[in-house]
Symmetry: D2
Subunit: 369 residues, 4 copies
Amino acid sequence: MTTYSDDVLGRARVTDNADLHAYYDKLARLDAGALWTIANKIEPWFPQPESVPVKWSYQELRPLVLEALRLVSGDDAGRRVVALYNPRRRDIAATVGLLYSGLQIMGPGESMTAHRHQAAALRFVLEGTGAWTIVDGQKLKVGPRDFAITPNWTWHEHGNEGDDGPVIWQDGLDIPLVNAFDAGFYEVHPDVYQKQEGITNSSLHVYGAGQLRPFGDTWHKNHSPLLAYPWEPTYEALLNAAEATDGSPYDGIIMEYSNPLTGGSVMPTMSAHMQLLRPGESTLAHRQVGSKIYTAAKGSGTSVVAGQRIDWTEGDIFCVPSWAWHEHANASRSDDACLFSFNDFPVMRALGFFREEAYPDNDGHQPVG
Amino acid sequence: MTTYSDDVLGRARVTDNADLHAYYDKLARLDAGALWTIANKIEPWFPQPESVPVKWSYQELRPLVLEALRLVSGDDAGRRVVALYNPRRRDIAATVGLLYSGLQIMGPGESMTAHRHQAAALRFVLEGTGAWTIVDGQKLKVGPRDFAITPNWTWHEHGNEGDDGPVIWQDGLDIPLVNAFDAGFYEVHPDVYQKQEGITNSSLHVYGAGQLRPFGDTWHKNHSPLLAYPWEPTYEALLNAAEATDGSPYDGIIMEYSNPLTGGSVMPTMSAHMQLLRPGESTLAHRQVGSKIYTAAKGSGTSVVAGQRIDWTEGDIFCVPSWAWHEHANASRSDDACLFSFNDFPVMRALGFFREEAYPDNDGHQPVG
Amino acid sequence: MTTYSDDVLGRARVTDNADLHAYYDKLARLDAGALWTIANKIEPWFPQPESVPVKWSYQELRPLVLEALRLVSGDDAGRRVVALYNPRRRDIAATVGLLYSGLQIMGPGESMTAHRHQAAALRFVLEGTGAWTIVDGQKLKVGPRDFAITPNWTWHEHGNEGDDGPVIWQDGLDIPLVNAFDAGFYEVHPDVYQKQEGITNSSLHVYGAGQLRPFGDTWHKNHSPLLAYPWEPTYEALLNAAEATDGSPYDGIIMEYSNPLTGGSVMPTMSAHMQLLRPGESTLAHRQVGSKIYTAAKGSGTSVVAGQRIDWTEGDIFCVPSWAWHEHANASRSDDACLFSFNDFPVMRALGFFREEAYPDNDGHQPVG
Amino acid sequence: MTTYSDDVLGRARVTDNADLHAYYDKLARLDAGALWTIANKIEPWFPQPESVPVKWSYQELRPLVLEALRLVSGDDAGRRVVALYNPRRRDIAATVGLLYSGLQIMGPGESMTAHRHQAAALRFVLEGTGAWTIVDGQKLKVGPRDFAITPNWTWHEHGNEGDDGPVIWQDGLDIPLVNAFDAGFYEVHPDVYQKQEGITNSSLHVYGAGQLRPFGDTWHKNHSPLLAYPWEPTYEALLNAAEATDGSPYDGIIMEYSNPLTGGSVMPTMSAHMQLLRPGESTLAHRQVGSKIYTAAKGSGTSVVAGQRIDWTEGDIFCVPSWAWHEHANASRSDDACLFSFNDFPVMRALGFFREEAYPDNDGHQPVG
């Protein structure tokens, strides 16, 4: 049985002395060091994320997001976004792990300029009816609870063509991940704005019936050709699945937004899910290698993350660090509740890092600290 | 430039003589032969299918199909099916190439016994509202123009629970293909009938929103977990695509029924399509390596296959042999027309045999003989 | 438990009568038929190959192969080949299943013209030291027991640049398979002969250390870029494996010639193996869905195929039809014996047809009839 | 054309003021921030690695590595390794990017205890003839210039069974990468030492002829079943390839150690190469997204990395940060030179980050600063 003491044979347990310190100095002068002085730290018994569970209250943040409308112009800000930072990850602008999220606001009639970057982006709309985005020439209209993607290196620009109020959507990007690999590139569009090609929502028209694919299609990129996933059919799919299956004991009814041409994740670095907690449902705790960011999409409830209770209602965002236990409960006995989430699981799987396990004690529920 | 004469250097062109005939006799006694005597025949310049274009008129066949109801019981027939034979392929029961098709009829209240076989099957419903099938325990209800699959070696049984008339559906199977490879197996169900598991149409509930996949799903078989593809969303998908794309010059708006978990064909040996010809649309001729069987699903029109004119209306079936030129026209200037088809293209692709080309002359249309 | 009688519920068992015969006549006039009259035949309980086990004795055939040198010129024959026919498969020129094999002879100094065809080819050299082939511009020299491939649609031509005698090699092609799918194409080379590009055996130089691949390589074809697999390293690999593993109880030490860039079969329709039977080794019987053609490459022994004893020595060829039991024994107690074989297993796997099972009785050995 | 100024429309260019500072304070209290204050930093125009080119001289480091033999015991150190640190990456123990490397020493007769960890490891032997490693029960003997892998979560232990001197090998691990994803796990072996299974170097016996794979093999792990790649056949493969190809203008003759069952990289997070610079050869400069660590395996030469000249001779190690220009030259006009290297390219490809480009100016050579 594994013991978690570092004072065992098989762990580094050198007692330092003057000779060794002199030795370490000599090594340091050659851009070197003694591995045993840090081995236990860099090869921990299990993941030791610096990220902690955090909840961002939409009720608290929304006024500040609205305030940004007045304080900075879209053209000056590039994007008018309130970023969500994990306390000890501010240096790399991470919300949790190597993922970033923020709340973007666009006033009625506003539009942002076009650019592209190596980082991949996704959007989850929180409020407002006028949101649009143009991704590689394709214009998409998105409304509340819709999910959309801006795959890496696609030209994109956004705007709000409504006249009834601002749009606020949640951005999710893999910026810290891209930077961790020294892989970031950025370009502004040579014409500042793209021209729309084809009809609005064209990928929904062509790929929106996922089990029917255009014959002769030559799509070969590493992301989904379907760029938006509206709320209504997503919710209907969850209700349908709830009639036929019991779902997951850890997640209720949970579906992954997928690339209809491969069945894989929508982009190679991030995947997204929508899950439904039935009235009165509370799930069992489990944990996975990988980082996740949740958004309360419908209803209200409580999650317990690493022993910390998080109450949520629509618009609230919270994160689950890698290998942190988590479980969810719908607060209502009459209405269902939905959680949107995105994660870096495609990376964990591609690199062979993914693991998951169920909470073994206490009937599957964590004690709440 | 290729010339199609066999009297060229590079083709077999041995002049037989008495010595050679004596030699051939000696070879024959050792289960051998001289390749040059048949080389040009077995390595033709281009495909030389024995299959020919055939149309089966639903108006003509339907009375005979109905007559079978009276002539044989389902239990005695195993399946009460009128098979469609290509004239020179009767010996292997092929409709075209290595594909088989037939019209199956079940009277109100009838049910067939359960079995499984190495051959894969698909169904396209022509008439009747009471049809059901149970595939590996999953009960599916299917109606007119619905498409369903019975992948190889799945237990299956069918019936008609309506009381308003018989069900007639079209079967498509790869029986000749399986037999060509000496790969056929067959079993009757040990309990004669299966027990239904879960709710009716459960795969539609779980996998029917193709771009949303159940998270944690462990499906790993080589066929689609989605076993039925109803007509309404299929037709809607075609109409949606027609708004966003011009479609194919050879096929109009054409979609392939797909495995939502892979984007691939529904089964490894056969794929199926539904295509929509817009009012007044006539397509250009092309040809492909692979065999196809078409069914007029909606409206009426005319196809030209290998220079032969085929007029079709709902329920008619016709075939296109490998490498035969074909083109389609909707007969109506006001209504759209739809053709269902299935083919062996997945095999052609897996084996590296697939080719296609456009008809080069006459503005892309064949002369009609 | 499956019973193999057709007189059971679940099989077709209609008793014909005058009414039915009249009905069948009406169907026949519409290119149709009653499925139940042939259902049991086309959906057998288990594979019913028309191919039978056959042995072709090299000692018997070799004089006839040599005789062809005198009887026909290479240019007239196209290829000077004695084809091996399964008795009931002469109509499709098959050696077993949908595979073809033959013995090709080229005299000293001879060369054949260049062509290409949809059928894929492989070669196994039986005798002679001067053999060469040019495949898509790449010249390869092959000697006894070497294995080489001519993937489909590659330009190829062969010759014998030795002066010490003829070359005889075994050809293996998928001609009947290609024809079964109406997929055959053929072209003679526009210049009659190819020009050699690069050095001789260049693919061996570049890809011949299979676990080292050229960085930046852009090979994307569906066949191996390595076109020849010499005997010496193959035999050494078998000896090496024999030191580390027990091998297969059915095949001794058996290796599959592979595409080093994918680990898959050398071509999509055919795979080839070399197996080593240790001194005194006799294997257990098993059977597989798929057709195989064996060549005694080294030593002598006995195989039992479908209960039929086949004694073999170097150069002998024999076939194993699909689902036929087979087992092998090395006749020597002091020397090892090697069997080369090729098969259509890649197709069986791609289409989901592959099965195998061990002979269950009699300590795993068939009774010999 | 892209300009690299941040003072353009499309970049963040907000002028801060008192109101904004008050706003930023309010955001900070809610674990949030204004994206525009850091957007340009976290989305750079092109990669901005903190890693710099570094050379570690074997002549300088070797005495210190030897000194460790005396200073610490293997059992206390866990592993007796001098780690190589990039100056600004000491905090995460990285040699370059998210890769780690170090020099491990084992005295004659020493053996280390067994453990496993999520990080993957590779070894390149610099000196000593007695090195062995046991990986998941398989014992491997490795000598100078041999390459071996210890895939993630495999049990492993090492030792030196020679009596003629210490073994020094280079370790390469993805520890910083694993930690960046909070994915690290570690276990000591329950029995402290493994038992050897099978013969020494068994994977070399079974998989060492990469284009011949054991038939019926069921390997399904995400790393190569071949655990060691000896120097002699690797060098011979390079010489063979040099006869048939011109190689790469940027790398000379370069081969990637591959998984013989897939043709892919040996492990999902790291790949390794051996390249040969012909006598007098100097390559052109290029750059790639991804981090690389080179070791001079044979001969001597000069590389230019990001404009910095690095002279190397056998045993020297140097690194190339992501997107840094680099080119190589063999110092000898009579002997060839070889560079071993490993990198994180498999990750770059899996995540869609890989790019490369040639140095456009100055005939393809960097100015040396």
